[in-house]
């Protein structure tokens, strides 16, 4: 069975550019969450989508947006990239929205130069 898949695995962008990260959840899972992990810290919650609706948003600026598609895959978009956006972006999928068992993808390493 395929786990959570994220693309791309690595990305280098220039300040001010825009980036789109993609996530495919485990088959049958209807919830996708996005987290940002910077070096030396634990993952920080950005968004959760369940059944294509936003259920929650973390403390991130409006430059961050996301959406979930009818097949439950998801995109995370970041506009006007800053150096501080350099991080590992993780996608997690779960059956429902309650996070009693959330499974993570391998992440997308974003470097902003």
């Amino acid at each position: 069975d395929a786990g959570v898949t994220q693309s791309p695995t690595h990305l280098i962008k220039t300040r001010g550019q825009h980036v789109t990260l993609r996530c495919s959840p485990i088959s049958g899972h209807k919830s996708v969450s996005w987290y940002q992990q910077v070096l030396g810290q634990g993952p920080q919650f950005i968004f959760q989508y369940y059944e294509k609706e936003e259920r929650g948003r973390g403390n991130f600026p409006d430059r961050f947006s996301a959406r979930q598609f009818p097949n439950y895959s998801s995109e995370l978009n970041v506009n006007a990239l800053l150096l501080g956006d350099s991080a590992l972006y993780l996608c997690a999928s779960s059956l429902g929205g309650g996070n009693t068992e959330a499974f993570f993808g391998q992440g997308t390493r974003l470097t902003v130069v």
Partner: protein, 113 residues
């Protein structure tokens, strides 16, 4: 604010001995707790979880203990194996905002042969 804290950034243990990882939290509304293991260049892997209505949950070599009055949980790994060398994250879910997990900063475990 950091509602989930892992105060030991690192732990070194001999192969075959017990590893004990600790986690403290401040939010009394947390009702579900999870432990994840993370290898470099991979996403976090779910290990074990516990509901706040329990004080212990066991799965093979992994046991999680929850002390609600102290707002403290611990993960015991017995016996420790070289493949257990990784970063371990404690995460918690709030009863009223179950759409997100709050993570600690992680503990790096090194198992010595």
């Amino acid at each position: 604010d950091q509602q989930v804290k892992q105060n030991s950034p690192s732990l070194s243990v001999q192969e075959g001995r017990i590893s004990i990882l600790n986690c403290d939290y401040t939010n009394s509304m947390f009702d579900y707790f999870l432990w994840y293991k993370k290898y470099p260049a991979e996403g976090p892997t779910f290990l074990i979880s516990i509901s706040s209505i329990k004080d212990k949950n066991e799965d093979g070599r992994f046991t999680v203990f929850l002390n609600k009055s102290a707002k403290h949980l611990s993960l015991h790994i017995v016996p420790s194996q070289p493949g257990d060398s990784a970063v371990y994250f404690c995460a918690a879910r709030g009863r009223s905002n179950d759409y997100k997990l709050s993570f600690g900063a992680g503990t790096t475990v090194t198992v010595r042969a």
